[in-house]
């Protein structure tokens, strides 16, 4: 039993990272209806910025603040420069553009920082908390705590500020939002900036666990997609729940299903995506879109 609980705890730790990237995906989808295939790569790029700051001698937490600020600005800039021209274009065009962004950002990071693996400092203390026969790494707790904090801040932003109200209005109906005087373009850019910031958090969280290299987020992205699909692409809370479920499911499948083992774990998100899309396409917490032909 303790072994099982141990697996669940580790799954939650992995799931928290998926949840934070899924959260970034969902934020952009809510505002623009775009699934940003480059989200993981943007997060990876942000992590490199953090690494660069630390390597230049900055204390970790200051580096994090700088990184988040740069990511926010970068996200807004990308929305303005790359995404704006194809806004309202067919889905195919937009997906291709974000795939182009994916390739570009990945290669750019490789160009600037080479493809060699870099060590990333772990902001949380080593060691583990022992309770009821289960040991929980402090870094797992730290990751869970940070994701919870991000969720809370986003909730406050959306529910209790004027900006958040405007953002919700744009997500619900851009045309009506524009009619009541909300600057829709600026809000969309804000959404991208916010998503890039949340993505940067997930990159910084995952870097000490994996290793920092340009392809770091490739594996995480597919789990984040599964998480967002499971939770519903239009539900931030669903993305977090989905991320945790995907993390636990993946860890348990790897540990207890003999055929899956550690190497076929990456099949778990595929099965989850297919299963959700066939059985409940709007996800657990999403609203089914009603289309008027």
């Amino acid at each position: 039993m303790a072994g099982f609980l141990q697996q669940v705890v580790e799954g939650l730790g992995a799931g928290a990272v998926y949840a934070s990237l899924a959260l970034a995906l969902v934020l952009i989808y809510q505002f623009t209806g775009i699934v940003n295939f480059a989200q993981g790569e943007l997060a990876m790029f942000s992590t490199y910025i953090a690494w660069q700051c630390v390597a230049a001698g900055m204390p970790f937490w200051l580096a994090l603040v700088v990184t988040l600020a740069v990511s926010f600005a970068g996200g807004m800039l990308i929305e303005r420069v790359v995404i704006r021209p194809v806004e309202g274009a067919p889905e195919l065009t937009i997906v291709i553009v974000t795939v182009g962004l994916f390739i570009f950002v990945n290669a750019a990071a490789g160009w600037i920082w080479t493809f060699l693996i870099k060590d990333f400092p772990n902001p949380f203390p080593g060691g583990a908390l022992e309770a009821a026969g289960v040991s929980v790494n402090w870094s797992t707790l730290g990751v869970l705590g940070v994701v919870g904090l991000v969720m809370g801040l986003l909730y406050l932003l959306f529910q209790h500020t004027r900006i958040g109200l405007g953002m919700r209005a744009v997500a619900a109906d851009p045309a009506s939002a524009r009619l009541v005087g909300i600057r829709v373009g600026r809000t969309l850019a804000l959404g991208w900036g916010l998503a890039a910031t949340v993505g940067a958090v997930s990159g910084v969280l995952v870097a000490p666990l994996l290793f920092l290299e340009p392809n770091m987020m490739g594996g995480v992205l597919i789990y984040a997609f599964a998480a967002a699909t499971l939770g519903g692409f239009d539900s931030p809370a669903g993305a977090v729940a989905g991320g945790l479920i995907v993390g636990v499911a993946e860890t348990l499948a790897g540990a207890y299903v003999g055929f899956v083992g550690s190497d076929l774990k990456v099949g778990v998100p595929l099965v989850i995506i297919l299963g959700v899309l066939l059985l409940r396409p709007q996800g657990l917490f999403g609203r089914a879109a009603v289309e008027r032909a």
Binding site: V35, V95, L101, F104, W111
Partner: protein, 333 residues
């Protein structure tokens, strides 16, 4: 040129169209003649490179059916390419099948797999299809490594390349080139006739307006699934030829990068045209090897930038640009 230009303007529309078609066929015949002549003039390495261009061209033709003509997206076509390559390799390795027989089998396996995955996938809107295909491409590599006794695991399988028959008097690289050329020409003709038929019109209708297509009686799910299966079949055939040409398959040759590179090449070459896949294949083959001299990351930077720029300024890619130029020339005279 100027005299034909004036008579053309006076001729009734069907005649004009036929003349344009005639000229197009003449151009293709010339291109084919050059393609037949080329391997006798080039060193073996360049013949090999051209062979690989043809292999990619077949795969991109298939991807173009799906993306360019039916308007559906796939980020996982490398997986079908890999399935074709492995089907051929396993048949050669296990059952010592004569290599020409592996082509229909590999194509059929990829087709069936495409059909099986297409049925659930095509119930999904574009974006989810992209997700599912991406997940498939990522999942395939560990799957290939897992079934070690069949696929050779991470070590892959090494195979003897098809040898030229004595009567031909060709060297090995030339024989492989002509085999590939034959497959590519057949694939091209099949795609061209497919697109001119009722099916091609149905696919275009689905791409341009699903609702209108459905109202006109086009069965959306049927044609989408079929397009998916066909493009998988093309990728499988290309993979099979790849196995012949390289004589080696390993899981790491078919990572998700291959899928993304294929899509990138097709977009740059030109979506929805017959020349696009060929131009895209040239691009996929030669740009990375040239750019790699600058920096390991340079091909990615170029690919990424070009995809975005092409989508903004020339959604029909290089083929569309070339078409626009050639149409402009007579008008200026």
């Amino acid at each position: 040129m100027s005299t034909t230009g004036t008579t053309e303007a006076a001729a009734p529309a069907p005649v004009r169209q036929r003349r344009r078609l005639d000229r197009r066929w003449a151009g293709l015949a010339l291109l084919l003649a050059a393609a037949v002549y080329a391997p006798f003039q080039l060193v073996p390495f360049h013949v090999f490179q051209l062979t690989m261009v043809l292999v990619y061209a077949v795969a991109l033709l298939g991807l173009n059916l799906l993306v360019g003509h039916a308007g559906q997206i796939s980020l996982g076509h490398g997986a079908f390419f890999a399935v074709g390559a492995y089907a051929s390799a396993v048949l050669l390795d296990r059952w010592d099948l004569p290599y020409p027989l592996t082509l229909p089998v590999a194509a059929a396996v990829a087709f069936l797999l495409g059909l099986a995955l297409g049925v659930p996938a095509m119930r999904l809107r574009g974006l989810y299809l992209a997700l599912v295909t991406l997940a498939i491409a990522i999942f395939l590599v560990p799957l290939l490594k897992r079934f070690e006794e069949l696929t050779g695991g991470s070590m892959g399988l090494t195979l003897a390349k098809p040898q030229p028959p004595a009567w031909s008097g060709l060297a090995e690289d030339q024989w492989l080139y002509f085999l590939t050329l034959a497959v590519a020409v057949a694939a091209f003709l099949l795609a061209a006739s497919l697109l001119r038929s009722r099916v091609g019109r149905a696919l275009h209708a689905v791409r341009d307006n699903e609702i209108a297509a459905e109202v006109m009686g086009v069965r959306l799910s049927f044609y989408k699934t079929l397009a998916f299966a066909w493009s998988a079949m093309y990728a499988g055939a290309a993979g099979c030829v790849y196995t012949w040409v390289i004589g080696f398959v390993s899981p790491d040759s078919f990572t998700v990068n291959l899928s993304i590179t294929m899509l990138a090449g097709l977009v740059v070459g030109g979506l929805g045209s017959l020349a696009g896949p060929v131009l895209g294949a040239l691009f996929v083959m030669f740009v990375p090897s040239i750019a790699q001299d600058v920096n390991d990351a340079a091909p990615g930077v170029i690919f990424g930038l070009l995809i975005i720029v092409v989508m903004y300024v020339a959604p029909t890619g290089l083929a569309g640009l070339a078409g626009r130029l050639t149409r402009k020339i007579p008008r200026k005279e």
